[in-house]
């Protein structure tokens, strides 16, 4: 018996599949289709670029000189030939006629289709600033762009890359390797902020700067600078001008949806497709960076492959459907290991596990939610990136290995070793626990046996974990193993939950390690949270400000609202404003200005404060700069009633008016206030000067009080009129006004350098003891002048009126709304 002849191939003519886009997505889709059913379609591919299909993500290595174009070609001419595919390159499709099922190319060429695949990818986003179309301004998208950059690099000179994202940094790296001086301009304050958290962004920036690139963050481009019809540089909105021979715009991509939109297909940000990559027209499919699937658009390569598989399955095999992609990122810059995947934005139901190893330059952060890994950021050591990514995609429960997760696959998968205590117990006695101080496990155990029963005691006896703190968890584990969990003593309170260090440790290490920025402190001291909390941020900001006067740049976002807006927030969200009145003395001009401001801005109340100043209540944040301008015009500056800073110097009228007065107490009060205003402190700081022991200025409940007597000045410290009333202790008696001021300056500086943030002088004095303070100031005759000189040095940077700067327009964003929303009534034309 003969089998019936198979005529199917001849009986049904092949369907015609037209592909718009000869890029990675279009060609991969065809490969997937051919693999499943090589005879189903006659394929025509239209490409806008006049060349065969190449691996676009490898353009960076081509730019960097690590690869040639031939090496990144995916499908050469023979692939098209072997598979009977007609390639129309350099002739883009300009029109789709869905009715007639035809496409029209720029040359006028018409092709009919049974199925149409749109794979137009994305276009680089060009910031529409003046001069964006000048010669020398290029994007980084295709080989033409790379060739333009290479010819610019041949001539040497300097380049600007706008955009500190993945693409921008790869472009910058390539140009830098080609010998150009590269400046990266990034709008956001942190590089690659979509993939990296602040900590990893800071490490990356430091490394790129070390390699000679200039990285300007918070740089907002205003316009291109032109010279002889060619770009000559970039001008920023802050007025800075940076010269360059070539400007690369790499700020982002936009799905290319123009053709689909004009054809009437449903589009959002991208071309809307279902799980089988079918558009709103069943005859038309779409894949790649041009599509929007379940509200998401993708700009990375891995989702492309998944989409192409789903497309081919749906078209010629058993439909599987595309369910969206979890993406991961690796920066292709040689020598920099960086990995990010999933969602690292955290959340209340998420748990952050952070490990920092400053000496190796390693930062790792994994995010766990509902027992599952949902995100990971790795810098410096990405060897476990794939393992984390795999855990993430599989959505497996990681609760059992949670404790060991951050140490990586080798550790977490080690069965019994998944218990970190067991892992530490298994270490040999010679194993190094603390790399900074070279302390072995045997030494730590010996030190615990010798009576050190807390982390702090271990730190002070054998120095383990006393420097960078990255081995604190190992020391804790050794304490638990040696003593049992209940016998481990807790040490002094840490600065906050983000660190194992105390206030004193942090202050000491900032100086020892020369740490000069908040992210740097958090990295070097192994903070367990990515960007701290509302307790540690203001504390670190103060400690850095105190440690590096004139050098540290104040971080306003780490300040409480009052210090950020230079006014006191009230329960209704309005602010109160206290202008400075030196020593409590005022005059008609000042009083008139205060009266005028009160009426002009509808302030609801003016009140005399406990510190002898006038407080204007009910000012809106939008009006603050104008209020300050008016007060400045009358000669008044900020009263700092809002700050952890010198508040007021209260005075009595003293020998000038009072029949009991022994010295010029008002005069001394004014001088003290002029010396110390504007200084930031651990907490608020109040002073007073009384002209005689009757003490009308209440100097004995102030942080620093002066009581004048016939023979000189009694100096008192550590008083407080708050919840716990505390009378001052007598510090010393001096004979001259000059000595009183010098001692005051030295005392303030000692407090500034030693107290914990948010510790008033009263509890500080009780913690340290009056004798300690006296010893610090008076044991060495050089102490007072040295401390006073440091205070004056710091003051030389601090005594600038913050109100005047705001009144002149600085940080207008803090005082203005983004915009206002009003319901719009629709008006019909009559």
């Amino acid at each position: 018996m003969n089998a019936p002849p198979d005529f199917s191939g001849a009986a049904t003519p092949r369907e015609r599949l037209v592909v718009i886009g000869n890029g990675m997505a279009g060609c991969r889709a065809i490969e997937e289709i051919i693999e499943r059913d090589p005879d189903r379609f006659d394929v025509v591919i239209f490409g806008a670029e006049p060349r065969v299909n190449y691996n676009r993500i490898m353009l960076s290595p081509v730019l960097a000189g690590e690869k040639t174009f031939d090496e990144i070609v995916i499908n050469g001419p023979e692939w098209y030939k072997d598979n009977g595919i007609m390639l129309v390159s350099g002739d883009p499709v300009v029109h789709v006629d869905r009715q007639a099922q035809q496409v029209v190319a720029r040359s006028g060429r018409v092709e009919s289709y049974d199925r149409l695949l749109i794979a137009t990818g994305s276009d680089p986003f060009v910031i529409p600033v003046a001069g964006h179309d000048l010669p020398g301004v290029v994007t980084f998208r295709d080989l033409d762009d790379v060739e333009k950059m290479l010819s610019a690099a041949d001539a040497g000179g300097s380049a600007i890359v706008i955009g500190g994202g993945l693409l921008g940094l790869e472009a910058a790296h390539g140009l830098s390797l080609r010998g150009m001086q590269v400046t990266v301009l990034h709008l956001m304050p942190s590089l690659m902020e979509r993939q990296l958290d602040e900590a990893a962004g800071w490490l990356l920036k430091t490394e790129l700067e070390r390699r000679g690139q200039t990285i300007l963050t918070g740089a907002d481009t205003e316009a291109m600078i032109e010279n002889d019809g060619h770009v000559a540089g970039v001008r920023l909105k802050d007025g800075r001008e940076i010269p360059a021979d070539i400007v690369v715009m790499a700020v982002g991509i936009r799905p290319n949806i123009a053709l689909a939109k004009s054809a009437g297909l449903e589009v959002g940000r991208g071309i809307v497709v279902d799980d089988h990559m079918v558009t709103s027209d069943p005859a038309i499919l779409s894949v790649g960076e041009c599509v929007e699937h379940r509200g998401a658009c993708y700009g990375l390569v891995a989702p492309l492959w998944e989409m192409c598989r789903a497309l081919a399955d749906g078209l010629v095999a058993d439909p599987t459907g595309y369910a969206g992609s979890v993406t991961s990122t690796k920066l292709k810059v040689s020598g920099i290991d960086l990995f990010s995947a999933g969602d690292f934005s955290g959340g209340d139901d998420c748990e952050d596990i952070v490990m920092r190893d400053a000496s190796r330059g390693v930062y790792k952060r994994v995010i766990v939610k509902d027992g599952k890994l949902v995100g990971a950021v790795l810098y410096g050591d990405t060897s476990d990136g794939n393992w984390y990514f795999d855990l993430l995609k599989r959505g497996e429960d990681v609760s059992d290995i949670r404790e060991a997760l951050i140490f990586g696959q080798a550790f977490a998968s080690g069965g019994a070793l998944a218990d970190p205590d067991a892992a530490v117990a298994a270490l040999s006695d010679d194993a190094e626990i603390c790399g900074c101080n070279g302390v072995s496990k045997g030494q730590v155990v010996g030190c615990i046996a010798g009576g050190a029963h807390s982390v702090d005691a271990v730190r002070s006896t054998c120095k383990a974990s006393a420097s960078c703190g990255s081995c604190t968890n190992l020391v804790e584990a050794l304490l638990t193993i040696s003593l049992g969990e209940d016998a481990v003593e807790s040490g002094p309170k840490t600065l906050c939950k983000c660190t194992s260090f105390t206030h004193d440790d942090v202050r000491r290490l900032i100086l020892e390690k020369s740490l000069k920025a908040i992210p740097e402190v958090m990295h070097e001291l192994h903070w367990t949270t990515p960007d701290g909390c509302s307790s540690c941020r203001p504390a670190l900001n103060y400690y850095l400000l105190c440690a590096w006067p004139g050098e540290y740049k104040d971080d306003e976002k780490s300040r409480f609202v009052n210090e950020r807006l230079h006014a006191n927030i009230q329960k209704d969200g309005t602010y109160s404003v206290v202008p400075r009145m030196w020593g409590g003395i005022t005059n008609p001009t000042e009083l008139r200005a205060i009266a005028d401001v009160t009426e002009k801005y509808n302030a609801r109340m003016v009140k005399v404060t406990g510190g002898q100043r006038l407080d204007i209540f009910g000012i809106r944040k939008e009006d603050l700069p104008a209020v300050w301008a008016d007060l400045n015009a009358a000669g008044m500056v900020s009263g700092h009633a809002y700050g952890k800073s010198l508040r007021t110097v209260k005075t009595c009228v003293g020998s000038e008016w009072c029949r009991f007065g022994t010295q010029d107490s008002t005069g001394l009060g004014v001088k003290l206030e002029q010396m110390s205003w504007g200084s930031w402190m651990p907490h608020k700081f109040k002073m007073a000067v009384s002209g005689c022991p009757r003490n009308c200025a209440e100097a004995t409940i102030k942080d620093f009080g002066v009581v004048c007597v016939d023979s000189g000045y009694e100096l008192h410290i550590g008083g407080n009129g708050g919840i716990h009333v505390r009378a001052t202790d007598l510090l010393c008696k001096v004979e001259t006004e000059q000595e009183a001021m010098e001692t005051c300056a030295a005392f303030i500086q000692l407090y500034r350098e030693d107290a914990h943030y948010l510790e008033r002088t009263a509890p500080w004095l009780e913690r340290k003891g009056l004798e300690w303070i006296k010893a610090q100031l008076f044991d060495d005759p050089e102490s007072v002048p040295t401390l006073a000189a440091r205070f004056r040095c710091s003051q030389s940077f601090m005594q600038e009126d913050p109100w005047a700067k705001r009144a002149a327009g600085e940080r207008a964003d803090l005082h203005s709304h983004l915009a206002e929303i009003r319901p719009l009534k629709l008006e019909t034309a009559s």
Binding site: P189, G218, S534, V561, A626, I821, R822, P823, L824
Partner: protein
């Protein structure tokens, strides 16, 4: 651009780690937050505790500490965190091509929902 979403301007207007405000005529003022990690969130600018302006708090992680009594509010859910109980309404937000969009229907108060809300640029203070 897209009818359902209201364009409230470029992302660069809000420094990471801070928030800015958006008053709504006839509705609740909105606070738009930009976290240090680059995420954007929009919430009614009121703490569930004593209605403190959340926009003025310190932003850390994806939470904000209220400037009045230091309640910590989740930017994602609007829920008070820790021991405190309460919730601030959130407004759906998305970012596209470096611009911020709010869900129009969540911005406009109920009775005015028939009218299209319009955006007026704020006059710089």
């Amino acid at each position: 651009m897209i009818g359902e979403w209201l364009d409230i301007g470029p992302t660069g207007q809000i420094e990471p780690g801070t928030a800015r405000t958006l008053p709504v005529e006839g509705g609740e003022e909105i606070a738009v937050f930009h976290t240090m990690r680059g995420e954007f969130y929009a919430l009614v600018n009121k703490c569930p505790h004593k209605q403190g302006p959340l926009s003025q708090g310190i932003v850390h992680g994806d939470s904000v500490s209220c400037p009045l009594h230091n309640w910590r509010i989740s930017l994602k859910s609007g829920q008070a965190l820790g021991e405190d109980k309460g919730c601030t309404p959130t407004i759906p937000l998305r970012v596209d091509a470096e611009r911020i969009y709010l869900l129009r229907s969540a911005v406009v108060p109920g009775e005015a929902a028939g009218n299209l809300p319009a955006l007026t640029p704020a006059v710089a203070a």
